[in-house]
């Protein structure tokens, strides 16, 4: 007998949550509690020794949060997951479980700015070195490896350059080096791409974006594939007795979810960026319609990209699935169901120049929302040069892939005609 392999859409609604044992509640109960009683002193001891599974304190685990963790683990095709307060916290937990002082990471240079800062500034303070390399060049990742390298790190789709990662090629480099490939899959979501199917070992998300999908709630998650050989000699923290747990060896004891156990019981337990139960509930409501939202985001974004390409007030459009885009071949391979809702374009500078035209465009929109987020159900616009990247010089902006005339759009779920109408009228104003 084999178990039924449920489809992605079914897992969006069911994975990780059966009706509540105590009440039969069909919706996910919000366990708004810090702590859980022990049945006995011996039960308490077993929980603290990791000899039984259960809830102790919501910093470490909580039944509402667990439903979100299992659901996203299932959607990614992974073995286990650990939720966190934000996407930034999730990637930190993943990497601090892999790295200690003196260790090293090789990362794509095109990473989201917040991630770049976390690696270049905060990890540097921790004594963890990060070498940033050309995201399109697997050989550059290989060339940057050191004996202390503990992870390769890249994004399925870079933000805001919208470069598509050749996950399988990076996986081959990682495998050869005996280190895990960590992929930030935020911009694609598991509906559009499942990095484990291409050889990634750990996936991280800002759940705030498409998984949550409604711009209401911060959250992050780390998912492990369950396939990385942690006993290859490079990860003594997985195979040697843990000081924190009286000699437990995480890989030997917990096997294919040993990394998640270590991330939870050591890294999360001691650093504490926990996801709140109410946040997990809100994010889970979004996950239940991921399979309906992502096709629409992707279809509308492609339609918007085509429309803008033909617009006289637009200099260029960048969307991975546009014919002729530099990343189109990789997008066809890794994002066959669509490339998500994010695109960038350049407003024609005309009389006032690109930066001013970009600002005029942003000030001219009627219902598209000017804010610094992506992956909301509503359409979002931002002019990076005058907002998120304002503190950088123009040269530094260009190095980060931001040009003065660039607008980033996160295409939402409104009527496509209305989105096009608002873009057109704001573009018209930008050229006055």
């Amino acid at each position: 007998m084999t178990d039924r392999k449920f489809g992605f859409d079914t897992l969006c609604l069911h994975a990780g949550q059966v009706p509540d044992a105590a009440t039969g509640a069909r919706a996910l109960p919000i366990y708004q509690t810090t702590s859980f009683v022990f049945d006995s002193a011996d039960h308490a001891a077993s929980l603290f020794n990791l000899q039984t599974f259960g809830n102790v304190y919501s910093r470490i685990s909580n039944p509402t949060v667990a439903a979100l963790e299992e659901r996203i683990a299932a959607l990614e095709g992974g073995r286990a997951a650990l939720a966190a307060a934000t996407g930034m916290a999730a990637q930190m937990l993943a990497l601090l479980t892999l790295c200690r002082h003196g260790d090293h990471i090789v990362a794509a240079r095109t990473l989201y700015g917040g991630t770049y800062s976390q690696f270049a500034t905060t990890f540097d303070q921790f004594g963890i070195g990060v070498t940033f390399v050309d995201a399109d060049d697997p050989a550059a990742f290989r060339a940057a490896l050191t004996p202390n390298t503990k992870a390769l790190y890249a994004e399925t789709i870079g933000n805001p350059q919208l470069n598509v990662c050749d996950i399988a090629a990076l996986s081959a480099v990682a495998r050869e080096a005996g280190v895990p490939l960590v992929i930030d899959n935020t911009m694609a979501s598991p509906f559009l791409c499942r990095p484990f199917e291409h050889g990634a070992d750990i996936v991280v998300h800002s759940v705030t974006k498409y998984l949550g999908g409604h711009g209401t709630t911060m959250g992050g998650i780390v998912v492990e594939s369950g396939k990385f050989p942690w006993d290859n000699g490079r990860f003594p923290q997985m195979t040697e007795p843990s000081r924190g747990y009286h000699g437990v060896r995480f890989y030997e004891t917990f096997g294919d979810f040993g990394f998640t156990m270590k991330a939870r019981m050591e890294t999360m337990r001691t650093l504490g960026p926990t996801l709140a139960p109410l946040s997990a509930f809100l994010l889970l409501q979004g996950v239940e319609t991921l399979h309906l939202r992502m096709p629409r985001h992707s279809e509308s974004a492609l339609a918007v990209a085509r429309h803008l390409e033909a617009h006289p007030a637009v200099e260029w459009v960048n969307y991975p699935l546009l014919p002729g885009n530099r990343y189109e071949p990789l997008a066809r391979r890794y994002l066959p169901r669509g490339a998500g809702g994010i695109l960038t374009f350049g407003v024609r500078g005309g009389k006032v120049g690109g930066a001013a035209a970009g600002q005029r465009f942003i000030e001219g929109v009627e219902f598209l929302s000017h804010l610094a987020n992506i992956g909301d159900a509503k359409t979002l616009v931002i002019h990076p040069a005058s907002t998120t990247h304002r503190q950088l010089s123009e040269d530094e902006q260009r190095a980060a892939g931001v040009t003065p005339e660039m607008i980033r759009l996160s295409v939402g779920l409104e009527s496509l005609d209305d989105i096009l109408w608002d873009l057109d009228q704001a573009l018209e104003k930008s050229q006055r």
């Binding site: 007998m1 009706p19 007795p241 009286h246």
Partner: protein, 155 residues
């Protein structure tokens, strides 16, 4: 008859069994076999140690062999090397056990055939504790993908 590997089959084994002979149970509290036996004890099972080098583990008297256990056994749960599996399968059959269970990392087709041919259920390459926790216990709370999709309350 092949190994039991599906949710319904594993649930049936775990709900119909009560006495587990744990072959190779270590007295060291941080070893996986100890974790598994302690967990099963806490969830209503009797875990009888088969270990010739110890006298008592987890409050249970140790026996030098499966044959030496003086009470009926439901599951023979093996934490020994793969090459020892056929001999342990024969001992499980002789003991009248209902299930021959090889732990995570253990596979042995010869042993599986011996047990199968005698009418025993066989489980390979799975941990009895993890499977109990996955299907009837708290593994879900550790963020693990249990594979369970159901509209029924957990028992």
């Amino acid at each position: 008859m092949a190994s039991v590997d599906d949710i319904a089959g594993l649930r049936r084994i775990l709900s119909q069994s009560r006495v587990i002979a744990v072959v190779g149970l270590s007295p060291n509290w941080y070893r996986p076999s100890f974790f598994a036996a302690k967990y099963m004890q806490e969830h209503g099972y009797r875990a009888i140690p088969v270990n010739p080098n110890a006298s008592e583990i987890l409050g249970e008297k140790c026996y030098p062999s499966i044959a030496a256990i003086p009470v009926p056994v439901d599951i023979v749960d093996c934490f020994r090397k793969p090459e020892e599996m056929p001999e342990l399968a024969r001992a499980a059959v002789a003991k009248g056990a209902k299930v021959f269970w090889m732990q995570l990392g253990l596979r042995n087709d010869e042993a599986a055939k011996i047990a199968n041919d005698a009418g025993l259920d066989v489980v390979q390459n799975r941990c009895v504790k993890i499977e109990h926790a996955r299907l009837m216990g708290g593994l879900h709370w550790a963020g693990v993908n249990t594979g369970v999709v159901s509209s029924r309350r957990r028992a």
